[in-house]
Symmetry: C2
Subunit: 383 residues, 2 copies
Amino acid sequence: MKKKLPAGSLGYTEARRVTLADERAPFALLSGETIAPVAVEYEDYGPRDAEKVILICHAMTGDAHVAGWDKNWKRDGRAWRREKAGWWDNVVGPGKAIDTDVYRVICSNVLGSCYGTTGPADANPATGKPYGLRFPVVTVHGWVKLQKKLIDHLGIKKLHAVVGGSLGGQQALEWALAYPDLVNKSIVLAAAARLSAQGLAFNAVGRYAITNDPHFNGGDYYDGEPPRAGLAAARMLAHITYLSEESMHKKFGRRRQDHWHPGFDVEFQVESYLDYQGRKFVQRFDANSYMYITRAMDYYDAAAHWGGGSLVQACARVKSQVMVVSFTSDWLYPPRQCRELAMAINQNKLPVTYIEVPSDYGHDAFLIQTEEVSRLLRSFLSA
Amino acid sequence: MKKKLPAGSLGYTEARRVTLADERAPFALLSGETIAPVAVEYEDYGPRDAEKVILICHAMTGDAHVAGWDKNWKRDGRAWRREKAGWWDNVVGPGKAIDTDVYRVICSNVLGSCYGTTGPADANPATGKPYGLRFPVVTVHGWVKLQKKLIDHLGIKKLHAVVGGSLGGQQALEWALAYPDLVNKSIVLAAAARLSAQGLAFNAVGRYAITNDPHFNGGDYYDGEPPRAGLAAARMLAHITYLSEESMHKKFGRRRQDHWHPGFDVEFQVESYLDYQGRKFVQRFDANSYMYITRAMDYYDAAAHWGGGSLVQACARVKSQVMVVSFTSDWLYPPRQCRELAMAINQNKLPVTYIEVPSDYGHDAFLIQTEEVSRLLRSFLSA
């Protein structure tokens, strides 16, 4: 069965995998721990000899499959994928805003992921069994350090741009702070220098639901049933934070699937939507990866790490041109916090562009309002 | 051990219990079901012969113990209480805004509650075993109808005021719509005519966590372990919606209990707060009651029930003077939705007062900003 690919598509894209740390040279983490081996799965589009390279960083439950179609169907305890367009296929491809006719474009799965880069479902060489919660704690800092190793391995000396949304935006920021000499342009979408107390709270409840699912078994569930109900609850909850109140109101309001059925079955359309999101997610994601990646989101604090608590001081390190884009109805990384980041760069008399995009779509806007995002990317990348 | 009571306190208050429906005259519900027997637990303060009677309606996990001190310590499968001040003790008492020297004040536990009024933990006369999820679906409409039965039983002909916050505010509104001739003043705090899609979503995730706790066992857990983890998760989540982003930021920010401990233990102060709230709640509340009461919150829709979908048409029924009070940072029943209710009354050329109280405390403000609330109540009750 041959699928007709849409115009401007990269066609079928493939993931590559490379080992970037081994026992002789293990990968050192911010927590003080080390890990080996470390394999990284990534996708690599556009001309290999392109003058300009763009690194894209994926968000929490995203992956390296940014654009084009994916032929993989894996279910080997690590990855659950099927034929689908990449998560930013409207933005990345030939002739698109991140133009693969012009740029070489790279995106890798983060450490701790369930999509090919070494993660908690992989075998711990010390025991031969999956790491589970014995996997070391990962951070945005460590992810970026591993991306730097990948870039080195590919022989890339400088990045034209690092781009990301949400937790990917925090990686773009971290690149600007950790390797200021290696980045020309930094594009931070729907992300701030740290997560709010409310954001920490949502992550905490999500993880509580996972760890209290009896199938979780302290993270050692790979031989049996995974903690589906706990992971689904975490995802349902997270989905509320990805949409805005307005978008939920417009999309579902108080409409029912059918008429009133007094009881506890799924009845309102919004319940049905969340139920579906929960079910779909547990088929493609690993609960331990969710634990680690949300914790990395909690821990990221650019001001604490680079500025002794001062975001202005941290941002003095920046050498790239930075564009920060927020979305008015985003309440996970609200405009106020994104603007705070832009202001901190500006207070160092460094060049920064801050744009607040009017939106009803909430945090997910960077994935949905791809026309507006494409316009901003095109103009900033070519400036 | 004698406790010194604070000035202006009602002293020790006691709950009363009365049977208001039996097999000969069962209580009919909006769902079409009936239930018998129905006992109602209530508290009753102030002079029995007072000219003016005020009915207070409690919020979701509240109870009839509004003011004074409670000597009960019950743990009979239905109630878990200990010596504590009522939930609105700053507002209700001798000389206070709802002045028990002047008014007779009544508050009853809602149907489905775990605090003495008949609920899912009570024995189903058909089986002799607890109802569990065989308890009929309850609604705000039915709660108010049962309160009317209580008022009749007490020989009260007219209410000077019906007052409530949150789900209690919806009961105050329902009184104004269902029994317009019996109420002089209606006071609706931090409540709207219906819950938003986002509010439905939060309730759905909370119930999902409860029903997926294996101890829940379809609601039949009274012989064994209750579904503590599921109920705690629901409560933790609900707590996020009771606070505002600002209040969480001020109260906890990103502060840690101690220094950085990479891992999944409770580490941030906001995590510790939620953890504590979850633990505390499961000691005092029944998971099935939580299921029923959140569902009643979902189902309440004054416009659909009384106005064929039009809130303006529904509000044409109102004969009382209405005061609607919202709190600026409340995002469960945001000011916009509270104002919509006030506007609907106003469009019928009926008297309504709408006040938006500046607040950082979120939805819980009606329980916390008791000084402002008291000022508003005093002036509206005496006008």
